[in-house]
């Protein structure tokens, strides 16, 4: 032990306590989101929580964390019955949660973020002592971070690691993670999850992991509980369950093998042949629909983020833009969506100059599916129906005399779309912010694909979706392409791009740095260009690896 008196108590010896949620039920209005669900998290194990979008996974952990009060049931921690009243209370009991979005203060350093997260801070923080204590804390940790780095400068993977580190620093013995890897690249995700796995092995913590990725379950979890429509439909050791068995439970045995995720069918091939339908049929690809020429834009701090992006998307093709977060692809989508001003350059759609104004978007049939739809594409407090009307509410068919809204027509369209896209919502009048993440995504997709679409800009369209929804959304994007739409697909998920794109562009530091060949795109080569090492890959090396 360190000689410095440590404000952080040494880790409690002994295994983490058993966490048991016993027959929890939770109702929202007359919608039963959790129906008699039990969850048993054994000490030192990684317990995966699976279920389709809207199954009630987040609701279950929110009840455990004290965000929501269950209508019935109890929660036991060790041999004590507890009923967390608030996340802070749960934290004091040793239950901590890592959210899908980050909760760190970007302008502070890692050290400040950690210290400030403590529930009881002294009036004056003695930074010298804290620094020494943190150093000795970090020395016990399985991975290292730069404590003095401002959080703003960290990548998503590093931030997620800090979030986990924060839970350990707060001495959480049971750590709940709600889709922690959706913001990470596969490599980052593996790193973070294997770290958690090891710590559970070492008996430091127990982990509850919500995820939609079977690969993460089979690789890193010990046990699985499967929810479906608010009910517990399955449970077992990971070794005893094949991915397709889990998928069957999730979908109520109704899943056809064709809708299973690639990993559920075969753990070897991420993208089987039918997933790779790229529509390279020459006849289908038409004239250039979108021309982006030397586009420049700045990020929020005024630093150039787009430094001359030039690209072309033809009708009937999907152009995938692969990039690691922070290389300008967010800004590219924002400029096209009207959420950021360009500083230079032109965008031409169907031969006309494009500006993100309503009339122009409508005339040129430009649609956009941005990432984080709740933040970027919805009004969380407005109803599902209203959100679905965002693009069309002022069109003649939804208005009388050109200005009076027809609530009835808006509701009719919403009802149709909800049915067509299988959106699970208590009602079309529910505020969209109350839908589960996956259902928000579907609702926005339904809105954006309604009617004639000439250009679709999609950013990480499948983030946080269950496998059936991923397959469905991919199919819908392909269908839009087949109807002649020009699709610009920006994604952090290389597998998704490989599966969907007709052409692949790699973006790095605000420029398109590489175009992968139509046939035989090499993930390894693309990855190198994404990482900014493209210049070192000689053309012959590319061929050598294929």
């Amino acid at each position: 032990m360190s000689a410095v008196p440590s404000p952080v108590a040494p880790p409690r010896r002994g295994s983490p306590p058993l966490l048991e949620a016993d027959r929890l039920s939770k109702r929202f209005g007359n919608f039963l989101a959790l129906d008699d669900v039990s969850l048993r998290v054994e000490p030192g194990r990684v317990h995966a929580l699976l279920g389709e979008n809207g199954a009630g996974k987040s609701t279950l952990v929110k009840c455990i964390m004290g965000y929501l009060t269950p209508d019935a049931g109890r929660i036991r921690l060790g041999d004590r019955e507890v009923l967390p009243k608030s996340p802070r209370h749960a934290q004091s009991l040793g239950i901590g949660m890592v959210y899908q979005h980050f909760t760190l203060v970007p302008n502070m350093t890692v050290r400040e973020n950690l210290v400030l997260s403590r529930p009881r801070l002294p009036f004056v923080v003695d930074w010298a002592t804290e620094r020494a204590a943190l150093a000795s804390f970090l020395a016990r940790m399985p991975f290292q971070v730069d404590l003095e780095a401002p959080v703003r400068s960290l990548s998503a993977g590093e931030k997620q690691k800090i979030e986990i580190l924060k839970q350990l620093y707060l001495e959480s013995r049971v750590v709940i993670l709600d889709e922690p890897t959706s913001v990470l690249t596969p490599a980052e995700a593996d790193h973070v999850l294997s770290m958690l796995h090891q710590m559970a092995r070492a008996g430091e913590i127990s982990v509850v992991l919500i995820t939609h990725k079977f690969r993460e379950v089979t690789q890193f979890a010990d046990e699985v509980t499967v929810l479906r429509r608010g009910r517990k439909v399955g449970h077992g050791g990971v070794g005893d369950l094949t991915p397709s068995a889990m998928a069957d439970m999730m979908m109520g045995g109704a899943s056809k093998s064709s809708s299973l995720p690639p990993s559920a069918r075969s753990s070897e091939h991420e993208a089987p042949a039918d997933e790779r339908d790229r529509g390279t049929d020459e006849g289908a690809i038409g004239h250039a629909r979108v021309l982006i020429d030397d586009l420049h834009a700045e990020d929020d701090l005024g630093v150039p983020a787009l430094r001359g992006v030039t690209l072309e998307v033809r009708s009937g093709e999907i152009v995938g833009v692969a990039a690691i977060a922070g290389n300008g692809q967010e800004e590219l989508v924002e400029v096209l969506a009207g959420q950021r001003m360009k500083t230079a350059g032109t965008v031409t759609v169907s031969g006309a100059e494009y500006e993100p104004k309503r009339a122009i978007m409508r005339a040129l049939n430009v649609r956009c599916l941005p990432e984080e739809p709740l933040r970027n594409a919805c009004v969380p407090t407005m109803s599902v129906a209203d959100n679905m009307a965002l693009r069309v509410f002022d069109e003649p068919r939804y208005t009388a005399m050109g200005w009076l809204l027809s609530r009835k027509k808006i509701a009719q369209t919403a009802t149709t779309l909800v049915g067509e896209y299988g959106i699970r919502a208590p009602s079309i009048h529910t505020p969209i912010g109350r839908l589960s993440g996956g259902n928000v995504q579907r609702a926005v997709l339904a809105r954006e694909l309604e009617g004639k679409v000439d250009v679709l800009i999609a950013a990480n369209p499948c983030m946080g979706l269950d496998f059936a929804a991923v397959a469905e959304i991919h199919a819908r994007i392909r269908a839009a392409r087949d109807r002649g739409a020009a699709v610009l697909l920006v994604s952090a998920d290389l597998d998704e791009i490989l599966a969907l794109a007709t052409r692949i562009l790699v973006m790095s530091e605000g420029r398109i740095v590489y175009e992968a060949p139509l046939e035989g795109a090499e993930p390894a080569v693309i990855g190198k260009y994404m990482a900014g090492h493209g210049a070192h890959v000689a053309p012959d090396e590319r061929h050598a690896s294929s």
Partner: protein, 378 residues
Amino acid sequence: MTSTRPAAGDGAGRFSASVEAAAVPLLGLAVSFALFGVFVAVAGANVGDVYYQMVRGSFGSWFSFQNTLVRAAPLMLTALCTALPAQVGLVVIGGEGALVLGALASVIAAHALGGANPWVVLFAMAGAGCVVGGAWIAAVGALRTLRGANETISSLLLNYIAIGVFKHVVEGPLRDPASLNKPSTRPIGEANALGAIPGLDVHWGLVYGLIGCLAAYVLMRRSAFGFAAKVIGGNARAAQLGGLAVSKIVIVTCALGGAAAGLAGMAEVAAVHGTANASIIVGYGYTGILVAFLARQHPLAIVPVAVLIGGVGASGGLLQRAEHLPDATVNVLQGILFVVILAIETLRGRLATFLPRARVTSESAPNPAAKAACSKAA
């Protein structure tokens, strides 16, 4: 210890959401009146008597009720100056400035038209009040959406400027030499006065207020424009994605709010004072903010709330005479009301927790004022 609780019955979600919408302000009213009771007790008055006199002075007789309505009329319009910008997510408190400048503009319009037909004069006065008040608050919206200036601060500061300009003009260039101890402009003339509604002792300004609130309701809750405004107020990024003309809609909405307050100024001049002088500056603009917040920025709810607050103001005189309390006593009540209403807003979404049945949980909506204050319109 089992934590089994009865589940909420069918439809409990929607039911208690709407009950809560009314329950929160009503609870605020009750708490405020209780605190006010403590205040008057400390001031040495009999609490019961004070409440009695207040009811008598505001709603107790036909005469006092008409007095209440006369005070409610400008409040409806100035409340719109806060409630309309609130639809696009702005917290504007510039109603006072728009009101006094609207009053000044209407007097100037009346003078410019000299001996024209009274209908023409009144129409021009109303137009001038609306245009100047509208432009004043439109500037607030423009500063916000084009330059990023905080609209609450800028509208507050513009109030001071407006009052300064008003006093300068009334006491300087436009001063009627005949107005000796109270500097005023020349009167608009008896013929041009805004009369009373037939059968009542209340001037037509009340009808302006009612029509204004109704029009605001239809515009904001039933029209495509209002839908766009609501999208902007709820999430400006989503509005941008939809290609909505965010700046234009923000500025127009602010202008409409300012026009309503300017019209209130015109009605005060044309119906009550007959001239522009410092009597216009009695805080209708500021009280309008209270009305808008109590009405939760709902255009139709403004009508009853304005009548209620108008009644509080109307009872001030009686309190002074009957209870020997200072004239400012009702201002204390207004202040208490404002603070309590703002504080109690934080209960929204959690109120259900205190009800025995229906534990309806909504991930508590943040205080709309606070949310609006930190959201950027552009």
